[in-house]
């Protein structure tokens, strides 16, 4: 499969919610995923001057922001319900180009905020999702 040649543009790279029929979070402005590994320090009194580490637990998060609309197909209200009920939110981070990669996994909402700043701005919302279990890479087909 060909996939994107060169730099991938941000316009189409979004967060979708769901497993078999994912729905894009409406009117996203920013979307991101982040992965990290907890490093276990293994240096001791017998070690030399250089610290030594072993990789421990892996974790990942997803986050984003969007413009606030009560009638959005999947927006603030749906994220609020998932936060309130503490339900799992399956997410996919992807564009729509066949052959490119997509990243999916289950999350819980750890942070959700609505922002009405200033007098001449759109109301926006921000969310942060804590991944639970593996973040899986697959090819868009």
């Amino acid at each position: 499969m060909p996939g994107t040649t060169g730099t991938v543009l941000a316009k189409a790279m979004k967060l979708y919610v769901g497993t078999t029929t994912p729905v894009a979070i409406t009117c996203q402005v920013d979307a991101s995923i982040s992965m990290s590994t907890n490093m276990i320090q293994t240096s001791c009194k017998d070690s030399g001057a250089d610290g030594s580490y072993l990789p421990g637990e892996k974790s990942w998060t997803a986050s984003g922001s969007g413009n606030f609309a009560f009638d959005a197909t999947y927006g603030w209200s749906q994220l609020f319900a998932a936060w309130k009920d503490q339900t799992i939110v399956a997410v996919v981070f992807q564009n729509t180009v066949v052959g490119d990669k997509k990243y999916s996994g289950n999350t819980y909402i750890t942070s959700l905020s609505a922002n009405s700043s200033g007098n001449d701005e759109a109301v926006t919302f921000d969310f942060e999702l804590q991944g639970t279990g593996a973040l899986v890479e697959a090819t868009i087909s």
């Binding site: 029929t21 009638d71 197909t73 066949v98």
Partner: protein, 75 residues
């Protein structure tokens, strides 16, 4: 690809989509939903909202009912 549903549909995750809603799926999923007759493609600039919008459907023509000529008019 953005689509507009022409009938109610519930995803396997329990997300309920009502007839008339505009939804954005990825292209492959949208194509499957369109092929299943659940929705139609809409413009990429359409705003995905939970608002029933006009969905135009073709009315199935019915055959005219034959009427027996009971006219008694005579020239």
């Amino acid at each position: 690809m953005k689509v507009q549903y022409t009938q109610d549909f519930t995803t396997t995750d329990g997300f309920e989509i009502k007839k008339g809603w505009t939804v954005e799926h990825d292209d492959a999923v949208s194509a499957i939903q369109i092929a299943a007759g659940l929705c139609v493609q809409v413009d990429d600039a359409a705003y995905p909202r939970r608002q029933e919008q006009l969905v135009f459907e073709c009315a199935v023509p019915t055959a005219p009912t034959p009427v027996t000529n009971k006219s008694t008019f005579k020239f």
